[in-house]
């Protein structure tokens, strides 16, 4: 059973972020980078699967500048069998689709039974990369997974998916598959000191785009489908304080205050199955292209 875990470094949220000059990216001075907490959940799930399946191996993979190595070594300290760093000068200003293209290329080369990654990144939070990787690899995917129960033969998994307000959806998923991991019952473990020491001197494999068979022109900010135009600090909107009608009962008034006031919803409200709604939304979006 070969498990690949995709990890990303994100901006630690306690550090105030400001735009760089020009404001198409954030100012990276003083930024503290940490492994995306959702990716650590994915790592934890991978480690637990390996505890059950003796022959399972875990490969941690990441892409980006030199600093990314620290996150990979953290995965090694947690117990990953190997770590791959995709390092190339062309990797800069990428959008999620380009990221997914590169990752999918590398993962296909490595071979896999299961790809685990965080459901979203704690900084950008697009939740795009997992699903795009699955599509590019042409395998099944389940997003926002809270619990994984692999079948004994390792050929399928029964997963629980997080829905809103504590609901869970049970889905039977064949392997190979991509699962994006969300908060569940598992807490990421802490690396032991002997493991940290080993990880500090372990070998991290490095791949560049050429080794993946990708041309710089295929990837990179020029060919990006989504470009960042401007980053700015939002100014807080003046909040209107809602005062409920005093003729209502106390219970009604409390309910209104707690819900932030009742507002008219504008626009169409689509209902139906996921594919039906998706089709209708794409039709609507086409008007804007």
């Amino acid at each position: 059973m070969k498990i690949v875990v995709c990890v990303k470094q994100v901006v630690d949220s306690i550090v105030p972020v400001k735009a760089a000059v020009p404001p198409t990216a954030i100012d990276e001075d003083d930024i503290v980078w940490v492994v995306n907490p959702y990716d650590l959940l994915a790592m934890e799930d991978a480690l637990r699967i390996r505890e059950r399946f003796e022959n399972a191996t875990i490969t941690a993979i990441s892409m980006g500048p030199r600093r990314v190595e620290k996150g990979l070594r953290r995965c090694l300290a947690l117990g990953a069998d190997e770590a791959i760093h995709i390092l190339d000068d062309a990797i800069e200003g990428l959008d999620s689709f380009a990221t997914a293209t590169i990752l999918a290329g590398a993962i296909a080369k490595l071979g896999f039974d299961l790809v685990l990654c965080g459901a979203r990144s704690a900084d950008a939070g697009t939740s795009n990369v997992g699903p795009c990787v699955a599509e590019l690899l042409n395998v099944a995917q389940v997003t926002s997974v809270a619990k994984i129960a692999l079948a004994a033969d390792g050929k399928s998994a029964l997963v629980e998916r997080r829905l809103e307000r504590g609901d869970r959806e049970a889905i039977q998923c064949p392997l190979p598959a991509v699962l994006t991991i969300d908060v569940g019952a598992n807490e990421p473990r802490y690396p032991t000191l002997p493991a940290r020491k080993g990880a500090a001197t372990a070998e991290v494999g490095v791949l560049d785009l050429r080794l993946l068979g990708l041309q710089p022109g295929q990837i990179g900010s020029d060919s990006a489908r989504v470009k960042v135009k401007n980053i700015s600090t939002p100014r807080p909107k003046a909040r209107k304080i809602f005062t409920p009608d005093s003729s209502l009962s106390a219970e009604e008034r409390i309910r209104l205050l707690m819900s932030g006031g009742v507002m008219e919803k504008k626009g169409d409200f689509l209902e139906g199955t996921a594919s039906k709604v998706a089709a209708e939304v794409s039709e609507q979006l086409k008007k804007y292209l």
Binding site: D12, I14, L193, K197
Partner: protein, 648 residues
Amino acid sequence: MFLLIPKEAYYLILVVALGLFIHRLYSLVRLLGVADTRAEWRSIGRRLRAVLVYVFGQKRLFQDPYPGVLHALIFWGFVVLLFSTVEAFGKGFDETFSLPLLGGNAAFVFLSDLFALLVVVAVCLSAYRRLVSRPSRLSLSATALIILALIFLVMASFFTNEAAQLSLSKTSSWWQPVGMALSSGFNAWLDAGSLSGIFALSWWAHIVLVLGFLAFLTYSKHLHILAAAPNIFLSAAETHPVPRALDIARQDRFGASRARELHWKDKLDLFSCTECGRCEERCPAYLSGKPLSPKQLTIGLRKDLLRGNGRRNGAASLAGVVDEEAIWACTTCGQCQERCPVSNKHVSKITELRRGLTLMKGRFPSELSRPFQSLENHANPWSIWHKTRDWLIEENRVPRVSEENHVDVLVFVGCTAAFDDRIKKVMAAFVRVLRAAKVDFGVLGAEERCCGDPARRLGEEFLFQEVARQNIVAFKRMGVRRIVTACPHCFHVLKNEYPQLGGGEYEVLHHSQFLAQLIQAGKLKLGDIQRNFTFHDPCYLGRHNTVYDQPRQVIASLTQNEMLEVPRSRSLSFCCGGGGGHMWMAERTGKRLNQMRVQEIHAAGAETVATACPFCLIMLEDGLAATQLERKLVAQDLAELVDSAIRE
């Protein structure tokens, strides 16, 4: 001839009995795994003095007067009677044997008689205490009662033999009153034949009981008879015990997951423990209902050490003898170590066990992952951006210490004063006081890292060394000579623990000491605060560093009123509950320590409790809020009090 058997048989019995005794001792010493004893031979003077005071003087035992006297009598009795016992064994080789100088000496004979009687009395009273009075710190113990019985019988055989000898030799000796009393009884009821028999039997009884006693003590807690004096000798040089240095680069194993992985000195502690319970009796965790008892911890570890690792009754882990929750319940306040009559260091074991859990298994209360992560990424446990530390420089215009700008006094701010709103006020007040006294001072600002105390107390030695080394490098680069800090944890670590990592070429003072110095030098003009003060001694200032008087001197200079003392003050001060990493842990069982403490302080009648520690201040204020005593008792730091008393 009273031996009744051939002399060779006597020699054989001695050889076998002593041989077994020495063999058992040898196997116990092997379990210790003694290595690297170079440090133990330093400060010989202090060590010998400790043996004099704590072993022969029985000093710590008298803190609990009644049992202290009983034990002292039994101990001194043993010392005195050691000589007559040697004489008795000697007589088995040669009937006429008598000790040089002492043998037959009237004073010696009198003392032996007297102490044997005192021992009998003490043993009877001790037995009564254990069986009837049943104080809570003593567990009902079969071995204790067996030993008391054995001692009683040894004394009985001593007197019987003495009396028989007096009767047989028809001597009248005013130096042996007890012997004489018994002897007159013998004379009245027994003839010479029976007396010879009694003389021989009582001699044999004495020999066998003493040999039996020796054997028994190596299988029971009475091993302390042999282990306590060496233990006290070895503990004496550490005036401020600190956790052992860990060479992260060289070692593969860290901390202790089993008793055998403890340092040999810690293992000697286990053999020295007498199960007296003085540690448990004052332990704040134990008193508030947590599953920790320092006594049970020591006994559990000893059990683990003696049961081996697998063959017959071995085990794979500490489960069953040491509770993991107990290990985390300790606040490292040091009250246990302060009271232990054999100088055991319980906190050292807690630290090693925590290192074993955190560093080797990554296992610790889950709420600690956040402060650990914060220490690793931001060099402070509060999950706040490190540049926030510059507030003193940016808002209060405190000079920034740097390579170009050296100062006389570096104020080491500490994480709590840098990030917590309440304690920021204390630091701002302290800065005002320093300015009023015209001190040349500065701060490191964002260059300052956590002193490392929370990491070290929780076993995360790796994170401790990371932040500590960065501080040490900064101190060197910026030519730091003198450091003053308002936090006793920072004070303790910078002064006592940084030398392990190469730091320490600077003087470290706690702000209570520095304020006392400034006041004494007349640098501050203070008015009179009309309030009733008391002082809550912080564990890391008082017990761990024996600074008790200077905070009181500061308070005395603030007010004409006499300062009140809380019943548990100075070395008996009751922990606020914030130390040992507990500032970042949830208190899940039992009563809350801070609430217990504020109620005690309030009951003592104070209006204001002065503190000298940011953790104590936060914990006490929380306690006051929770017990709704906020209007009746106010907690304030010494710096704030001095600041409010300054007159221009």
